[in-house]
Point group: C2
Chain length 97, copies 2
């Protein structure tokens, strides 16, 4: 295993940072296997619409979630399998401690 260069290290840290907040982890968790609109997410995780929207923006920027408009609603879902994979490998780790 070679050392990553600094740019990649920073990218990697930025990626994990997004998983490093409980509101965002809740969002990712609730989006596993389904798509939900912002309000549904907010209700589902007991957070305000604003807080969820702010966090979705970060997840969207990092391409961890994708979205689809339908009327007034905007449905969010996980962007790809990697997101769930990263989530699940973390779960495995905390189960084993």
């Amino acid at each position: 295993m070679k050392l990553l260069d600094d740019d990649k290290i920073i990218d990697l840290a930025e990626l994990y940072k997004l998983f490093g907040d409980s509101t965002r982890v809740k969002i990712i968790n609730i989006l596993i296997d389904k798509e939900l609109c912002v309000n549904e997410i907010a209700e589902g995780i007991n957070a305000t619409q604003s807080a969820v929207s702010h966090q979705l923006r970060l997840l969207k920027q990092a391409k961890l979630v994708k979205y689809r408009k339908e009327g007034q609603a905007i449905f969010y879902s996980l962007a790809d399998d990697h997101v769930e994979k990263i989530f699940k490998i973390g779960c495995e780790h905390i189960e084993e401690i």
Copy 2:
């Protein structure tokens, strides 16, 4: 996939948070496949001994690294395969964006 309860969500976020800082990612990266003492780590990643020591304390608390004393030196290494696994799955993700 069921929703994790709040305690697990918090544990999970705490775990990822540790991967969400470039100094710590560098430490984890440099410890893959070998053990190093604090000074070697500090030199290897261009950080001060103090900064590295502070971060090692966090990694140690979370059991992401283990250590072994030998004379004055303290050799650190990754605690288990999970750490490298989490690291590598993150690498895969950033490679693909």
